[in-house]
């Protein structure tokens, strides 16, 4: 029996996104960056670098955080989250690579980073970390695929490597999440004072940790909504508690840094950048922090969903502000992404959602690994 997929609202939207995405992809690769983007010599970095790459890497931080919790800290409660988080990480980084292939002028030479070295370049370090970490994530996720395909030998091999891999992955993530902030250390004269700080790497790292937890929460709601599979509330609640501490720490050093550099007063300025900075900080830290400090919010499904959404949106705003808004004044030009850039970005994110849904459907992503359970494995007979 041939199943005709039911036409739903989201399927129509997805179809439209796909058509637009493919259309602009063809244009981008046949006519160059200028035909699709609003990038210019004054604004060489736009939505693709800022959102698809720099923000994308941050949003995929959940994978390393949960790997750290489960493999290194051995907090077994979080095992059910491990696989979805690693899958999201893997897909997130893959999409970052896809985004790079759109954005790099000579995308076919992307492999040059492997043979031509420049260890003094932050971008070089980020490139290597992302490359290696993508490999680590692929290996970590391969256990799920092998389990689904019932390839026991390979699975055992990966299981032997899993702890070194996890440690390596955590180090790599720490390095490149912070290095994405270091990218902007090179523009002290260009970037607006509220954002430019010698502590940028630290800010980027801490906010990546915070958004990593929020993304795990957000994704579990999405998978419950679209796949009917979710994660328990008490685990998400635990993540929210940790996130409260992370956000308090972030806010503290942020204020301390602004005060230390003597620019705390600029927060109250009516300059466009200052207002953006205030909105970003409110959405990313202050509002979710206040929300999560209320126990009733922290323990409710809606409260967790809304606060994690705040963190994510605020995080995205922060990255876009640093990469785009912050240099607007010094560039002497104005940038707003072209429709093609927006379409491609949404296209890439949509591919990620579809890939997640496909893998979650066909591989044991939402099933807890059994081997370490104390109870004897029950022989289950399916009728």
């Amino acid at each position: 029996m041939v199943r005709i997929p039911k036409i739903t609202f989201w399927r129509i939207i997805i179809a439209v996104i796909m058509v637009l995405g493919i259309y602009y992809t063809v244009i981008r690769y046949t006519q160059g960056l200028g035909a699709v983007t609003n990038l210019s010599d004054q604004y060489p970095w736009g939505l693709w670098v800022a959102f698809d790459v720099i923000t994308g890497v941050g949003l995929a931080a959940g994978g390393f955080l949960i790997a750290l919790t489960v493999y290194i800290f051995r907090i077994d409660n979080y095992k059910p989250i491990l696989r979805p988080a690693i899958l999201t990480g893997f897909l997130g980084y893959t999409l970052v690579a896809v985004g790079l292939l759109y954005d790099l002028g000579k995308w076919f030479d992307i492999w040059h980073a492997i043979i031509f070295w420049n260890p003094r370049s932050v971008m070089f370090e980020v490139a290597w970390c992302v490359m290696l970490y993508l490999t680590v994530l692929a290996l970590e996720f391969s256990t799920v695929v092998f389990e689904g395909l019932k390839w026991k030998r390979l699975n055992q091999l990966i299981h032997m490597l899993i702890i070194p891999l996890a440690i390596f992955g955590v180090i790599l993530s720490t390095l490149h999440q912070s290095s994405l902030g270091s990218l902007f250390l090179i523009v002290p004269a260009k970037l607006y004072t509220l954002w430019y700080s010698p502590l940028l790497p630290l800010f980027f790292f801490i906010s990546a940790v915070s958004v990593g937890f929020a993304m795990v929460t957000f994704e579990s709601f999405l998978s419950r909504r679209f796949l009917g599979k979710g994660i328990e509330l008490n685990l998400l609640n635990g993540l929210a508690r940790v996130n409260v501490l992370v956000m308090i720490f972030y806010l503290t050093i942020k204020i301390w840094d602004l005060a230390g550099r003597g620019v705390l007063g600029d927060v109250l300025s009516t300059r466009f950048e200052s207002i953006m900075f205030d909105i970003e900080t409110l959405v990313q830290v202050i509002i979710p922090l206040v929300l999560l400090l209320i126990p009733a919010v922290r323990t409710s499904t809606k409260g967790l969903f809304v606060s994690s959404l705040f963190v994510i949106v605020g995080f995205i705003m922060n990255r876009l502000d640093v990469a785009i808004t912050g240099i607007e004044a010094s560039s002497g030009a104005h940038y707003f992404p072209a429709f093609g850039e927006i379409a491609i970005s949404i296209f890439i994110v949509t591919i990620g959602f579809l890939a997640f849904a496909f893998l979650a459907k066909h591989f044991p992503v939402f099933i807890e690994p059994k081997e370490n359970e104390e109870e004897p494995v029950e022989i289950v007979h399916d009728i």
Partner: protein, 270 residues
Amino acid sequence: MAKMGILIDITKCIGCKACEKACKMRNDQPLTLDEHLSANAYTVVQERLPNTYVRRMCMHCENPTCVSVCPVGAFTKTAAGPVVYDKYKCIGCRYCMYSCPFSVPKYQWNKVVPYVQKCYMCADRIEEGSEPACTAACPTGASIFGERDKLIEEAQKRIKDNPDRYVDHIYGLHEVGGTSILYISNVEFEQFKAPFNIALPDKPLPMYTWAALEKVPTIVVVGGVVLTGIWWITSRRGEVEKFEAGSKQEHWWRFGKKQEGVKEKKEDKQ
């Protein structure tokens, strides 16, 4: 080879654009009149103030930002001074454009295989013992080519000899650690607007990122040791718990027997 450079004396420039034309002919670029630096214009003469012309071109920094940021090392600072670009290595990430404090590198936005474009100070001509096309074409001596040290002396002499004419500032002497291109002017440089109005530090920009990058090996080593340590402790704890659980089970068997014994006694009493 001695470090070469170019001294641009803004007071002497008449805006004839002979340098632009020479540059374009040297690089086979279309002979258009350009207002801004672009992929087709490595140098432009701009009337930044009435009757005051400022020639823009790559500053050829002593410690260039582009050389440090490029992930594939497509830029090199040659011994003679020019900063040159290897279009084969380039992957097109445009970090050089984003980070250049003078916004010099430009891009071929409408090409399918685009390259970064910027002045390379006619490095090949310098190699041959000649001078860049632009300075050779300058009719008034507003741009002169020479050893950087000698150009600095010359600039200082001009300022000293004509303190009324020049402001006491050699732009490029200290900015971002010094540049091969030096400017002297009769007007404060801030008035020329970007990039001259941006307060640049004397510290080379690559030092800012290096401060973060040099911590990488430490993070790797310390992170590796700490994480392995934590894992070792937590896994030890797990083993101990398992062991204790095992011995408890043994106790339970004994305990179970004792319990049975107690029950029997109770039954006896009944």
